[in-house]
């Protein structure tokens, strides 16, 4: 019995050891730690690629830091663009960073109020469920060559999970039982149909173009001109606008519409449940930007940073993702909010046409470049 357990442990150990994140810069420290009995195993487990991906880089830790920092980045960026530079008087050299702490503390310690008309179980469940659903696509995002679950259907799975987000928003809007949240919910439903189809077709165009939907193979195509952005700019544009619609941020903040609906689906929420919903749109933006980086910006490709080894790709991936996210957030300062009918018109009109054009463009490129064989490779 003991021998069997020993063998199983050894098997796991060797599996873990064979698939490590290789960071030459940290190797001396890791060698030191490896001599400590339990710590060595723990560290090697953390550095096990799937676990590292899920827990640290593109996964939970990175997401957490981005969620913490990005509301601040957004505020500062919008402030600069809109001539509201600050703070000037109180600890100006920190640039308002303590606000992050204040926000977190506020969200954590505020009372979660469940008003008496709300559908209590769903009202309390949906914010947490939606947060979990928004986490799942992270498993299929590859940062360089670090990925949690490697499957040939990664992009499709991500699409399916991303299209799950609106469902939870509909759920929490319904559970709030408030007229504002009802209107916001209906708007969210309208908008989700309007952007999802062009979104899916744009991604499909890229899958056709690459002939694969494995993010590792997509991002390994190096070179600037090999980026999806330059190979199929129409798809890139469509994807970007669809991502802006999906995050329901300012140019397409139709469901939340501060001026009309207070906060749309989540008027009634407070405390940590509001915090989760508030943070969810940043989470969405992160996932969509990550997907955009993989599909259009060459993923983690870039000149290797010496000493970082496998992390070099992750650093490039994160840098590109942050740029895309920042661009997404900067949109709110450039464009005013569209009305619902305008949003629907954009989604069902221009966006669908553009996405179909993108798909056609991809097919033409594949046919020209690879002949009939290229298409067979896709199928």
């Amino acid at each position: 019995m003991q021998i069997q357990i020993q063998e199983a442990v050894n098997q796991i150990m060797s599996a873990v050891a064979s698939n490590q994140v290789n960071v030459p810069l940290l190797q001396p420290i890791l060698d030191l730690v490896a001599q400590i009995p339990m710590a060595g195993f723990l560290v090697s487990f953390v550095l096990w690629k799937p676990f590292f991906a899920a827990l640290i880089c593109p996964g939970l830790s990175t997401l957490g830091i981005l969620l913490l920092v990005f509301p601040w980045v957004e505020r500062k960026l919008c402030g600069r663009i809109q001539w509201r530079v600050g703070p000037h008087e109180i600890v100006w050299w920190l640039g308002g960073l303590p606000q992050i702490m204040a926000d977190s503390v506020k969200f954590l310690f505020q009372e979660v109020i469940v008003h008496k008309d709300a559908d209590r179980p769903y009202y309390l469940q949906f914010p947490f469920l939606s947060f979990i659903a928004a986490l799942l696509p992270l498993l299929f995002i590859s940062a360089g060559n670090i990925i949690a679950i490697e499957t040939p259907y990664a992009i499709q799975l991500m699409l399916a999970l991303i299209c799950l987000f609106p469902l939870f928003i509909l759920g929490l809007g319904w559970a709030s039982n408030n007229r504002f949240s009802f209107i916001g919910t209906v708007r969210e439903a309208f908008m989700s149909f309007a952007y999802e189809i062009p979104f899916i077709i744009a991604v499909l165009a890229m899958i056709v173009l690459y002939g694969t939907s494995n993010p590792l193979q997509m991002s390994s195509t190096g070179g600037l001109l090999e980026w999806g952005l330059f190979r199929n700019p129409v798809a890139a544009f469509t994807f970007f606008v669809a991502a802006a619609m999906a995050t329901s941020r300012l140019p397409f903040e139709i469901a939340e519409a501060e001026q009309e609906l207070a906060a749309g689906p989540h008027v009634e929420y407070s405390g940590i449940s509001f915090g989760l919903i508030y943070v969810m749109c940043y989470e969405k933006a992160y996932i969509l930007s990550g997907l955009m980086t993989i599909l259009f910006l060459g993923g983690g490709s870039g000149p290797a940073i010496s000493g970082l080894g496998d992390l070099s790709g992750a650093v490039w991936f994160l840098a590109k993702t942050v740029v895309v996210m920042t661009t997404l957030f900067a949109l709110r300062t450039i464009y005013p909010r569209y009305r619902l009918d305008q949003g629907l018109k954009i989604g069902w009109g221009a966006m669908i046409s553009l996405s179909l054009v993108a798909l056609a463009l991809s097919v033409v490129i594949v046919l020209v470049q690879g002949g009939i064989g290229g298409v067979e490779g896709v199928v």
Binding site: L77, R80, Q82, W83, R84, G86, H88, Y335
Partner: protein, 252 residues
Amino acid sequence: MKKVSVSEQGLVEKAKRHAAAVGVAMKESVTPLTATVFYPRERKKMPDNFRGYLLFDPEKCINCWECAFICPANAIQMKKAPAPNNRFYPTVDYGKCIFCHFCIDSCSGGALRTTKIHDVAYREMGEMLTLTEEMIEPPEIIREDKKSVEYEIEKDDLHLKRTREVDGLFVEPTPPVEIPMVSQCVDRASCLGCRVCEEVCESGAISSSSAEGVLEAEGVLRMKIDIEKCTGCGLCVKECSMQILRLVRRGK
């Protein structure tokens, strides 16, 4: 029914405008302009006709009460000066003042004048009633500013221009424009010949025609106004019992 229509732009024009908007956003995110004036450390440069704190010069006041009459907020009350003087001077209640500066416009002697002071603090409401003697000298000012700031419009964009100079808060009062007036009888037929205007005239511009030995046919005195001597003080206009005298602009 008329509908407001938006001018249609071509695709190229639209794309250009989008690009311009994105370009502005990118430029601003790197080198943001700002409209903030760091007030105690720098001051906005005010124009010379800025409507600020009022100063008063009793030497020039002619006690006409015009400021108190015209004040729409009823902030100006006339207070009697102590015994040897016995004249009435304005006091301003800054709790009521709306800074319209009608008082300055109406001041014929130029006794009231404006300053660029716009930041006076009071400890309590009562202090806001500023007495005449407090209006002669400007309030105590602590200047912390080293720079002055001006807004300038450059290429359809607002810019802050900072200069290393301390802007003066006091404005030289523009001397009141004197409009030369002259007294004129508008209805000679109604004149009673009471000679009140002749008695009241300090410059001796009004004389009864009888002095020259000319009586009109009805045996009524008619007054004669010497335009050259008349100073346009308006005393005769005020005193005329028939109200037939008017002040008119000289030369008309």
